[in-house]
């Protein structure tokens, strides 16, 4: 039996699965634990679809979750607010239902993306890889509409996407980035803001929960106004909160495949 469901925004819709041509297939996300040759760190390689979703959020996507982590597939789609059809077998049903329950339990959050900069892109493979690397480093960007001004142009002329990503990072400045995560190379984030309300969506691609994920976020927030919703754990408190020079830091004790943090600023 194949379960198929359409994930659109937070609300899934069961769907027949008969019109596959409507969808753009995406590979299953995950992590490859391979050592990079002579790298500075042994950080594993994250296969994420978040950049694809950000590139074309209007499309509907199809992912084969059989024998894969259906929770992760659902989490990254939810984080990017895109429509996703999931093919899953009975073996994934429990996890599918569990994640669906979690997504349904989330309160409404702010809708507008919160980013550090915008990019324009020409649809090339080089631009796609640059977006992938920006996403993997949690350099939060929005994609400008065609013809609109953007802070950075991603084109096929990018010879080395990694160097390009580092140049963008340097121009933005680590200290000035609206979000940084410490304690996990495998957690990717998306932020949304509306007025003084902020929502962080944290997708952990690793095979084990992140213990003690440190979050540094632009703005001043008090502990009472930070609510973490953690998949499999319900609501969770944050610890070791500091507010300094316009930034707030806190620790999430445990981040399994997905966590959503709602904050209200001062």
């Amino acid at each position: 039996m194949i379960l198929t469901a359409l994930l659109a925004a937070a609300l899934p819709v069961v769907f027949s699965g008969g019109d596959e041509n409507r969808y753009t297939r995406v590979p299953a996300p995950g992590v490859r634990y391979r050592m990079n040759v002579a790298a500075a760190t042994s950080a594993p390689w994250v296969d994420s679809n978040m950049w694809r979703y950000r590139r074309a959020p209007e499309k509907a996507y199809l992912a084969d979750a059989r024998d894969k982590s259906v929770a992760l597939i659902m989490a990254e789609a939810h984080a990017e607010d895109i429509a996703l059809a999931v093919q899953a077998g009975l073996g994934e049903k429990k996890e599918f239902d569990s994640m669906l329950d979690f997504l349904r339990s989330l309160p409404d959050g702010p809708a507008g993306a919160w980013t550090d900069f915008t990019v324009s892109e020409d649809g090339s493979a080089q631009a796609g890889e640059a977006m992938n690397l920006l996403t993997r480093r949690n350099l939060l960007y929005g994609v400008a509409k065609p013809g609109a001004a953007a802070d950075f142009r991603l084109t096929s002329a990018i010879a080395n996407p990694y160097d390009f990503m580092q140049q963008v990072r340097e121009k933005v400045g680590d200290d000035r980035r609206l979000l940084r995560l410490f304690g996990s190379d495998l957690t990717l984030a998306r932020a949304a803001r509306q007025g003084n309300r902020v929502r962080l969506r944290l997708v952990n691609y690793g095979s084990r929960p992140v213990e003690s994920l440190r979050v540094r976020l632009r703005g001043s927030y008090q502990a009472a106004h930070i609510k973490a919703h953690v998949y499999g754990h319900g609501s969770a408190k944050v610890s070791d909160l500091t507010v300094n020079a316009g930034y707030t830091e806190f620790t999430l004790d445990r981040v399994p495949v997905y966590a959503v943090v709602d904050l209200t600023g001062e």
Binding site: A38, A39, A40, T41, S42, A43, R137, N138, D163, Q166, Q167, R169, E170, V172, G173, D174, D175, F182, G183, S184, D185, R208, E211, S212, L213, R214, D240, T242, N244, E249, T251, D253
Partner: protein, 369 residues
């Protein structure tokens, strides 16, 4: 409430991209802790030799001889007649003492359990309770391979803070060094939380070892790289930033002030391939223990021990900076090495005020039993 303050410089941001390749990285130290007074004897090192301290065929140490070495070394260091008075200069009943062992090359080379047991015995004599003594390391697999528990009272704690690589739970989120070496995203190295919040005193127990990145590893590297997370990122390709990173980490409070005593276990050493014993022929037996409060002076003395042994074995100096040495590396060739070593981390640490590196100003006293 602790005050957050900046001790040094401004961060490079993603400055690794724009730095000159050989320029020193820019570090930012974040700590709410300040320096606190302790009994220090700068520039002084006491070295005690004994031919009978360890059996080379089995690496088995002689507890009675080791005890004698401690008594001679500690009393000479402090000038006291009774070794208990020496220990009481730093430790009292109220203390919670961390013992930073070195397990990075375990189970073949490590702070010897007999040496650790003698330290614990002396602490107990000063009134420190068993449950307030903590042997600590970062990684449990290395620590467990030694079997310290067989040599110690059951109430003495043996603890590794990072059960899998990268877990931050037992590191202090408010005490860290921030630096971007090679464009890595994880730019912080946080201090172990037990160091900041639990321990009142720390004893550092390194070995005498060659080190592929830092040239040698002794007091400074053991306490620095062993008390912070995310430190191996300082090496990439043939380049290593150990020259500046080791001393920088060692200056961070409260680690610096709480580390009151260094006991260098030189019963057995490694002259090539460190911090591991990659081959039995790279092990040697200096049969000595060094005592001091000055990690720089002790490492300066230790470096000569390793360098002399390498010279005797016909191996290139730890100061060799030839790029050819780093090419076509064969693990068991003592004239090859993956990195250009940085033994100058000792002089760099002296420049940060951590101790005396000038050999002419180091007062080395030697005792032969």
């Amino acid at each position: 409430m602790h005050r957050r303050y900046f001790l040094a410089g401004s961060v490079a941001g993603a400055g690794a991209m724009s730095r000159e390749a050989d320029a020193d990285p820019r570090y930012r130290i974040i700590t709410p802790y300040k320096s606190s007074p302790r009994y220090e004897i700068r520039g002084r090192v006491v070295r005690v030799f004994s031919e009978a301290c360890i059996r080379e065929t089995t690496a088995e140490a002689n507890p009675a001889v080791v005890r004698e070495m401690f008594q001679a070394g500690m009393t000479r260091l402090t000038g006291d007649k009774d070794p208990r008075d020496s220990w009481r200069r730093w430790f009292s009943k109220a203390d919670v003492v961390g013992i930073k062992v070195n397990a990075s090359g375990a189970p073949k080379i490590m702070s010897h359990p007999v040496v650790i047991a003698e330290i614990v015995r002396n602490l107990l004599e000063t009134g420190v309770s068993e449950s307030n003594i903590w042997l600590y390391e970062r990684f449990p697999d290395q620590l467990a391979s030694i079997g310290y528990a067989r040599f110690l009272d059951a109430k003495v704690n043996i603890h590794a803070v990072e059960p899998y690589r990268g877990r931050l739970s037992e590191y202090d989120p408010k005490t860290y060094v921030e630096v971007n070496f090679f464009g890595e995203e994880e730019t912080r190295s946080n201090m172990i939380r037990m160091v900041t919040e639990r321990f009142t005193r720390i004893i550092n127990v390194p070995n005498i070892k060659d080190h592929g990145a830092s040239g040698v590893t002794g007091c400074l590297k053991n306490i620095a790289y062993g008390s912070f997370h995310n430190v191996a990122r300082s090496h990439a390709f043939s380049k290593t930033h150990t020259k500046t990173f080791i001393g920088t980490l060692a200056t961070v409070e409260p680690l610096r002030s709480k580390t009151v005593l260094h006991v260098m276990d030189g019963l057995k050493g490694i002259w090539h391939g460190g911090p591991f014993e990659r081959d039995p022929r790279f092990a040697f037996y200096p049969k000595q223990i060094l005592f001091g409060t000055d990690p720089v002076a002790m490492d300066r003395i230790m470096r000569d021990v390793v360098e002399s042994k390498r010279k005797a074995e016909g191996a290139v100096s730890v100061f060799d900076r030839s790029q050819a040495t780093t090419e076509d590396v064969k693990p068991l060739d003592p004239n090859k090495n993956r990195y250009i070593r940085e033994p100058g981390h000792i002089e760099f640490a002296a420049g940060l005020g951590l101790g005396v590196a000038d050999i002419k100003r180091i007062r080395l006293e030697e005792i032969r039993l």
